[in-house]
């Protein structure tokens, strides 16, 4: 078991380094950092001096090392667009994105999971078919379209909810939160639903299909043959077995919520890191792109690691085999 954890940790570090390499390549080789930072009248000598001072003439591995070391200390350089420290820009906006993602995740899980279980248990019932149809629509509509439609209906037409911005926020230390004001909470509603809808349908469909597969297994049949109650079979046996594979996928999906926030934040002018990233792509603001990449990479790696460990806790088959075999069947 320890061996497994160590192996995964090493893998994670390797992935992070790979991501770091990509970010570094971006940083160093796409566009010219010097040209982006100085004005038109800076002379060639001054540019050359600056280049030397910033270490841009050092061999590549040295530069890479510096890059990583800086990143580890939270120094991501200056934005090409605003000349502010990238780190500060990101930190300012992280709470917005995290709170939004959290709400979206709660929405997706809180509604998607029960809906999935229900449609898995009673697939022929008309309500189940209705949910299926709705889920198909949820998967087909791009996030931004959902956002726009919601804005059209609830903000522009009905004037119930705000159509952009974060509303009033409260500052606690370096964190700003939406949760403590009414206008903040109101502002969270539409974006959370928009962001969470796709994940909701994914979760619902996954749970449903897993549930249907589980219900056809031999051990469910044997459980019925032993005369166990429907409740025991559906919730004790079927649900538990369904959740095991659902955990991985859900965990990974939650990670991608943060990435998908890019679109939602743009639609709702939500001041999070996603919006920042889009602006950086539009303006070729490489330092911001690189920093975002690194951070997202770190996040995903952490999430993957946690999910793998969670698998261990939940599936007894993995514990005794030391995690080498990933048992695919039911």
């Amino acid at each position: 078991m320890i061996a497994f954890i160590l192996r995964r940790l090493l893998q994670s570090v390797a992935v992070l380094l790979a991501v770091g390499l990509v970010a570094f390549s971006l940083f160093r080789y796409v566009g010219d950092p010097i040209n982006a930072m100085v004005g038109q009248d800076t002379t060639m000598e001054e540019r050359a001096q600056l280049r030397d001072k910033l270490g841009l003439n050092d061999p590549a591995p040295v530069q890479f090392f510096h890059f990583i070391a800086n990143a580890a200390r939270g120094n991501f350089g200056l934005s090409y667009r605003t000349s502010e420290p990238v780190a500060r820009m990101i930190v300012e906006r992280v709470p917005a994105t995290l709170e939004l993602s959290l709400c979206a995740a709660l929405f997706a899980l809180g509604v998607g999971l029960p809906m999935g279980v229900y449609t898995g248990l009673y697939p022929k019932h008309w309500t189940a078919r209705l949910f299926q149809a709705v889920s198909l629509i949820g998967i087909s509509l791009p996030t931004f379209l959902i956002g726009i439609l919601l804005i059209l209906v609830f903000a522009v037409t009905l004037h119930w909810l705000p159509s952009f911005g974060r509303g009033q926020t409260v500052q606690i230390g370096w964190w700003t939160t939406n949760f403590l004001t009414i206008s903040g909470l109101k502002a969270l509603i539409l974006p959370s639903i928009t962001l969470g809808l796709f994940q909701l349908t994914l979760i619902m469909r996954l749970v449903r299909s897993e549930m249907l597969e589980v219900m056809r297994t031999d051990y469910i049949k044997f459980a019925r043959a032993r005369g166990l109650t429907n409740r025991a079979i559906n919730f004790g046996h079927a649900l538990k077995n369904t959740l095991v594979p659902v955990i991985t996928v859900t965990g990974l999906q939650l990670g991608s919520l943060i990435a998908f926030a890019i679109v939602t934040e743009t639609v709702f002018a939500w001041p999070g890191v996603g919006q920042l990233f889009i602006q950086s792509v539009q303006f070729s603001d490489i330092p911001v792109m690189a920093a975002y990449l690194l951070l997202i990479g770190l996040l995903f790696v952490l999430i993957n690691l946690t999910v793998d460990l969670l698998y261990f806790v939940v599936d007894p088959r993995l514990r005794s085999q030391g995690g080498t075999a990933r048992v695919g069947g039911h």
Binding site: D218, Y219, K221, F222, A225, R226, G227, L228, N241, R317
Partner: protein, 340 residues
């Protein structure tokens, strides 16, 4: 329907029909099957794959998978009809009065729960026992089926047991609430040959001790010969022959059964060649008119092509074959070579 003892039969199956509606029409998988099982008796049900034996078993425990359904017939347990019961009523009977064992012990057990938990759950579903008493009973059952070190192993997960041990656990689970009848569907097919004998012996011993009747479904004639009191031979969804095991094995009355027996090699007997029955069992969509076996039968006559034989008396058994009818098979037919 005479059975060995004169007690009222435990299980009565009358004219059972199991159908599968498909887009190509309705398939008849079990066609007018009738038999009894006496209390404590072991009835073997033998036949090739697709003959309908598993489906008969599933129909009896009420777990036919849709779209399969019981189209006609009656099933009675201790005199009470069970084929038309609502799900909840049937659920109470399952496990408590009828148990079941399936083929693959690995997939029969939920991998996420310990063996003990699954036992206790089943016990508490049917018997009014507290947790501690249920656990004690579970331990006793594990010991009874021959799991060494039961005190420790009761908290192990299914994947920590070997195949033979797992099947013993499955048997323990089936016997939890002391059912009167167990439907065992190919209980040894998935096991190593060396383990098969152990499991069969265990099953036989336990059922004798508990007085449980067994419907033993299998394609392995050897197992039947060892274990069963009576045997029913199924072919194309029908019963070809049914009778005491010794009679059917030594002196089969139906040509199909004769062919089956002749195709089993036996040690110590000098045989020139094994019998081979030409052709193959017909698919459900192409069952011949008259006797289902007639295309492959060496002794058929005109009557066999046209009239379907019911089970009729043939010595100590009954066989569905016109050979045993006063009228005979009619004019014999030149047997052409049957191409497979």
């Amino acid at each position: 329907m005479a059975n060995a003892s004169n007690n009222p039969p435990l299980l009565e199956v009358r004219n059972l029909r199991v159908e599968f509606p498909t887009r190509r029409g309705t398939l008849l998988a079990v066609d007018d099957v009738s038999f009894d099982i006496a209390p404590g008796e072991v009835l073997g049900v033998v036949g090739e794959s697709g003959a309908g034996k598993s489906l008969t078993g599933n129909a009896i425990i009420g777990l036919l998978e849709p779209p399969g359904r019981i189209a006609a017939g009656e099933i009675r347990l201790e005199g009470r009809r069970i084929d038309n019961l609502p799900y909840e009523e049937m659920r109470k009977i399952r496990g408590a009065r009828i148990g079941a064992i399936f083929q693959d012990p690995l997939t029969s057990l939920n991998p996420l729960y310990t063996v003990g938990r699954q036992l206790v759950e089943t016990i508490q579903t049917h018997l009014p026992l507290g947790a501690a008493e249920a656990r004690t009973r579970a331990l006793d059952l594990l010991k009874e089926v021959g799991i060494p070190g039961a005190e420790a192993r009761i908290d192990h997960y299914p994947h920590q047991f070997s195949g033979g041990m797992r099947q013993r656990v499955v048997i323990a689970l089936a016997l939890c609430a002391s059912p009167r009848l167990i439907v065992a569907d190919e209980p040894t097919t998935a096991l190593d040959v060396s383990i098969q004998a152990q499991i069969i012996a265990l099953l036989k011993k336990l059922c004798r001790e508990h007085g449980t009747a067994v419907m033993l479904v299998t394609h392995d004639m050897g197992v039947i010969a060892e274990t069963a009191d009576r045997v029913a031979v199924m072919y194309a969804g029908r019963i070809a022959e049914i009778g005491p095991v010794r009679d059917v094995v030594k002196d089969a009355k139906h040509p199909y059964t004769k062919g089956l027996m002749g195709s089993i090699p036996s040690l110590g007997v000098r045989q020139e060649r094994l019998t081979q029955i030409d052709g193959a069992m017909p698919r459900l969509t192409e069952i011949p008119r008259g006797c289902a076996f007639n295309p492959r039968c060496t002794r058929r006559g005109q009557r066999c092509l046209v009239e379907r034989p019911e089970l009729m008396a043939a010595g100590a058994s009954r066989a569905a074959c016109w050979l045993h009818d006063k009228g005979g098979v009619g004019a014999p037919i030149e047997r052409e070579r049957v191409d497979a």
